[in-house]
Every structure is written in structure tokens, then in C-alpha cells.
């Protein structure tokens, strides 16, 4: 009925951990390199790579079959879509349609709303 289940070994756990530590060190090192606007994008890509290692090895996604293999990736695709489309909307608004930047701190500053700083 079911194919024989492949089990993730202790060796794989250790290798995954070494990879995660190395990627963390790389992220920390890159934070000191001036990469401008790319620094967050690169750091998040490394984080995504680390998350994939955690899911495949530590969370045993590698050995799952059927619906259990799909649940998390499918969920992540839809969360990703939701986040991307929300941000696409927010990032492409032109100033008059954007919410006033200071709305959260209006009370403290006596309600002088400045628009979001351009850029």
C-alpha cells in the first residue's frame, strides 16, 4: 500500500544544524557589508533557505507522503500570495491615496500628519 518510509537520520539532523549555523553566521556577516536596498532582500532569502532546511529535515517533510507533504507548502504559497499582493498594493500607491504616515503617532505629536517620506 504505502511505499516504505524513508527516515531522516541523526546524521542528517546534524548536517542540517551545521548548515543552519553557517547560514546564520553568513547572515550576520552580510549585515556588516553595505548592500543598500539589497541587504534585507538577501537576508530574507537566506532566511527562506534556512526555513526550507528546517522543514525538509527537522520537520521531516522529506519523508511525508500525500496530503501531509502538501499541506504546509500549499499554505505557504497562499500566505505568500496574500502578503505579496497586499504589499504590491501598498507599494504602488501614490501619496494622496496613501494613509497619512503619522497616523499611528498622531496623538503624541499633536496630530501633524506628514505623508510617508518618499522613497
Amino acid at each position: 500500500m504505502a511505499e516504505p518510509m524513508r527516515r531522516v537520520s541523526n546524521r542528517a539532523y546534524l548536517l542540517a544544524w551545521i548548515g543552519l549555523v553557517a547560514l546564520t553566521a553568513l547572515t550576520y556577516a552580510l549585515a556588516h557589508v553595505p548592500l543598500g536596498g539589497w541587504s534585507l532582500a538577501i537576508a530574507l532569502m537566506i532566511a527562506a533557505a534556512k526555513a526550507i532546511v528546517v522543514m525538509l529535515i527537522f520537520m521531516h517533510l522529506l519523508e511525508q507522503a500525500g496530503g501531509r507533504r502538501l499541506a504546509m507548502p500549499a499554505g505557504l504559497v497562499f500566505v505568500g500570495l496574500l502578503m505579496a499582493l497586499s504589499l504590491l498594493d501598498l507599494a504602488t500607491r501614490w501619496p494622496p491615496t496613501a494613509p497619512p504616515g503619522g497616523s499611528a503617532s498622531e496623538d503624541a505629536t499633536g496630530g501633524a500628519p506628514e505623508g510617508p517620506t518618499a522613497e
Binding site: S9, T24, K50, A51, F58, R68, M72, G75, T109, T117
Partner: protein, 211 residues
């Protein structure tokens, strides 16, 4: 709680029962990601709007401490995974200590976080209306740190829940409740812990490495 050792009437086999439990956990974990997603979207939006202020504010978050916290959680995840491996192979004696180490690393994470919060509070870096930090402009700076407290606070709550779950699992493992044939709670507890670790992997560059 003894009953969950036995096979429920609506499952054909023990494996099927364990697999159903795992599927349920995966679906729950996806909803957890959904819970954090709005906080991430808010962060990215305000980072676009308050680019300069976010960078000024980020410089006041300790990157080295954040890295240490990341390594602590990642190592804790390793021990959780090793505990699952031990449970699967029926090495029941090893399960309790391994889970205990994972939980203690979780506690270490909480302690570091607490120390960090205390230091921020002393400097006047507090969320919302209590914000009293002069070095970063209120507009933008307040947003950054309010989001910082919300996101890391929600995450910290998850770590605390995970530590509590591990404490119970370690105790039950110590009492000999789990075997190679039945250790679903260990598998599910570890899954939850790994997700909490994963969320932190994204929080870390967003708040600790902004320079």
C-alpha cells in the same frame, strides 16, 4: 490521557491515526504562519514609508544578541529533532533528556529576550504611547519599536508555550509513556517547536540586522 495510546475506532491502523494527527498539526502550523503574516506585511509597508527612521531605529537593536538568540533556537531545534529520532528508534531513555535540553535552550532564549526588553525599557524604548526615546524620531521610530515589541512578543509567547509543552513531554517521556510504536505527542511537539524556530529565522533579519 491514557486513551490516546490506543487505536481509536475510526482509524484502521495505528499508522493511519498517527498520520492523521500529523496532517492536523501541519494545517494548524499553516494557520500560525497566517497569524504572523499581517505583522510582517505591516513591517514591510512601514519600512518602505519610513526608510531612514527604520534604519536609525534598527541600529539600537543588538545584532550580536539577536544572532546568539538565533543560534540558541536553531540548536534547540536540533535537540528536538534528535528526541524524535530517539523516540522513533525506541531509545526511550534518551528522549526525556534530549527534550529537556531543547526546553532549557528555549528558556535561555526567553532570558536573553527578557534582558533585551529590560535594557530597551531603561533607555525609554517602549511601545506606543510610552515611547520615550530621543535618539530616533518619534515618527517611524515609534512604529519600528512598537512592531518590534508586537512581533517579538507574539513570538516569545509561542516560545513560552513550546517550553511548557516540552516540560510536559519530558516528564511523560521520563515516566515511560512513549515507545517506538506510540510517540505522536513527541512528533507533534517537535513540529510546533520547529515552526516557532522558523518564524524567528525571519524576525531576526527584519529587526536585528537593520543597519
Amino acid at each position: 490521557m491514557r486513551t490516546d495510546r490506543s487505536l481509536q475506532a475510526h482509524f484502521a491502523t495505528r499508522e493511519q491515526q498517527a498520520e492523521a494527527a500529523q496532517l492536523g498539526m501541519w494545517v494548524f502550523l499553516t494557520t500560525e504562519v497566517l497569524l504572523f503574516a499581517p505583522l510582517f506585511v505591516t513591517y514591510f509597508y512601514f519600512r518602505l514609508s519610513f526608510h531612514t527612521e527604520f534604519h536609525e531605529a534598527g541600529a539600537h537593536v543588538d545584532a550580536l544578541l539577536g544572532t546568539l538568540m538565533t543560534l540558541t533556537l536553531v540548536t534547540s531545534s536540533l535537540f528536538a529533532a534528535l528526541a524524535v529520532g530517539a523516540a522513533r528508534h525506541g531509545r526511550a531513555r534518551a528522549v526525556a533528556p534530549l527534550i529537556l535540553v531543547a526546553a532549557l535552550l528555549g528558556v535561555a532564549f526567553l532570558v536573553m529576550h527578557g534582558a533585551e526588553y529590560a535594557e530597551h525599557a531603561r533607555a525609554g524604548i517602549l511601545p506606543g504611547r510610552w515611547y520615550a526615546f530621543d535618539e530616533v524620531p518619534e515618527q517611524g521610530g515609534n512604529l519600528f519599536f512598537t512592531l518590534y515589541y508586537l512581533t517579538t512578543g507574539l513570538h516569545m509567547f509561542h516560545v513560552a508555550v513550546g517550553v511548557s509543552i516540552f516540560a510536559v513531554l519530558a516528564w511523560r517521556a521520563f515516566r515511560g509513556s512513549y515507545s517506538a510504536a506510540y510517540h505522536t505527542p513527541i512528533e507533534l511537539g517537535a513540529l510546533y517547536w520547529h515552526l516557532v524556530d522558523m518564524l524567528w529565522l525571519f524576525i531576526y533579519p527584519m529587526y536585528y540586522l537593520v543597519r
